[in-house]
């Protein structure tokens, strides 16, 4: 672990960055995000199986941006968010120094023992264990525990249901929503200056946590992330009501792949899914 501290410290001493986003440990294995603004603040930096957060979310926050060039420790999945932010002009490549982490999976939650049972679902079938974009790379990839992708199964199961059954499932789930917007705030790609849910003229999405407002919010949130969501699953982790948001995000990602062979967050130079088109896009559903 000394390595991490050394790497983080050197980012300062070499003058590459003005601040570094990394993970520090608390209460044993638990970690939390931390912005070091001085070399000595990197002393508690850590990399373990519990670096759950996607630190990329901070890259668009005004309070972080004011530091200028930021160094960031990023797993492959986190880097996908950086790629998406680059595609969407939110950050400039030269303003971010990426320390890519070769990742062998993280744990689903802090208070669990890491194993095939508890590995985070996003890590299953991960194609970016080595980040696609970085300035330097640390760690090595090793064999990763296997687990059952329950979410995918659930999606397939839902797909096979009737419309009424699907509706009932999602009505129950969305009804739990309390409109705290933790999903939005935790999402590295929800960087809008003013979320459409906060707009009142006109009020496309009602702010009440009523069934109706909740339905619109969750649908539109998923749609605004369609073709953009990079699958870090921070929304679902942040949700205090345990709404399975990733079902929608995953489903949209699957559609993107099936329809357009598009996988988000792989290449900053690829045109975004929404925002581009192909003359041969599917038309079968249009009369």
């Amino acid at each position: 672990m000394d390595d991490i501290k050394k790497i983080a410290r050197e980012l300062f001493t070499s003058g590459k960055v003005n601040a570094v986003l990394g993970y520090v440990s608390i209460n044993g294995q638990r970690t939390k995000p931390f912005l070091a603004t001085k070399p000595e603040e990197t002393d508690n930096f850590i990399i373990n199986k519990y670096i759950l957060n996607n630190l990329t979310v901070y890259l668009t926050k005004k309070e972080i941006l004011k530091y200028g060039k930021i160094g960031i420790f990023a797993k492959g999945c986190d880097v996908k968010a950086i790629v998406a932010l680059l595609q969407e002009s939110q950050i400039k490549r030269e303003e971010v120094y990426i320390v890519g982490i070769n990742c062998n999976g993280v744990c689903a939650d802090f208070d669990m023992e890491f194993s095939g049972e508890t590995i985070a679902l996003k890590c299953l079938n991960c194609e970016v264990r080595t980040p696609k974009l970085y300035d330097e790379l640390i760690g090595t990839t090793e064999e990763m525990p296997k687990a059952d992708d329950g979410k995918l199964k659930m999606i397939r199961k839902i797909e096979a249901l009737s419309s009424a059954e699907k509706w009932d499932i999602f009505e129950e789930q969305f009804d739990k929503c309390i409109k705290c917007y933790a999903c939005r705030q935790a999402c590295p790609l929800c960087y809008c200056e003013r979320c459409i849910s906060d707009k009142s003229v006109p009020r496309w999405i009602e702010s009440s946590a009523s069934k109706r407002g909740n339905f619109s919010w969750n649908i539109i949130r998923a749609f605004h992330l369609a073709g953009r969501c990079i699958g870090c699953n921070e929304c679902e982790r942040a949700c205090p009501m345990e709404i399975p948001l990733s079902l929608l995000n995953r489903k949209m990602a699957m559609v993107a792949q099936e329809e357009f062979k598009y996988v988000s967050g792989l290449d900053p130079n690829t045109p975004t899914l929404i925002g581009s088109y192909d003359l041969k896009d599917d038309e079968d559903f249009i009369e």
């Binding site: 839902i158 009505e171 069934k211 369609a226 073709g227 357009f260 003359l279 559903f285």
Partner: protein, 148 residues
């Protein structure tokens, strides 16, 4: 009352240059069609935001029709191509959360296709009639009914 057949309320989002004009043509040709659809004219299908579709359901529509220029015919070059891509994503999303595919209909109707416009309207109205009222959405809407 019971004998009255269900008359669905349908909102159609159409582009000014093709489908709206196609509907005009149906009119000048005195073709008859089902009266359930209310057209909202937009410059281009590219202007149609999925939130509008959702809002239409929220406001009590039993079906939503979306229609514009055929691919390649867009008055604004590519508006309908961008729209088509959004629809692909959006209609799959709605289907996934349980909004019946039969309640949301997409079509291309050009300015010269008065007949097609009539067919699309009649076909869709009948489809929605067969489905009946959108009870699921009505149910979550009911919270609104004044209890005072």
């Amino acid at each position: 009352m019971e004998n009255k057949t269900f008359e669905p309320k349908i909102i159609a989002f159409v582009c000014n240059w093709c489908t709206y004009t196609g509907a005009d043509l149906a009119g000048t040709s005195r073709m008859k069609y089902e009266p359930n659809v209310r057209l909202i004219k937009l410059p281009c299908t590219g202007r149609i935001d999925p939130v509008m579709i959702l809002k239409a359901f929220e406001k009590g529509a039993d079906g939503v029709l979306v229609s514009g220029c055929h691919p390649g015919d867009c008055h604004y070059n590519a508006g309908n191509f961008h729209a088509r891509r959004r629809w692909i994503m959006f209609h799959k999303l709605l289907d996934f959360v349980g909004i019946d595919e039969n309640r949301l209909h997409f079509s291309w109707v050009s300015a010269s296709e008065g007949k097609k416009f009539v067919d699309v309207i009649n076909g869709f109205v009948n489809k929605v009639k067969a489905k009946g009222p959108f009870e699921k959405y009505e149910k979550i809407n009911k919270e609104f009914v004044i209890n005072g």
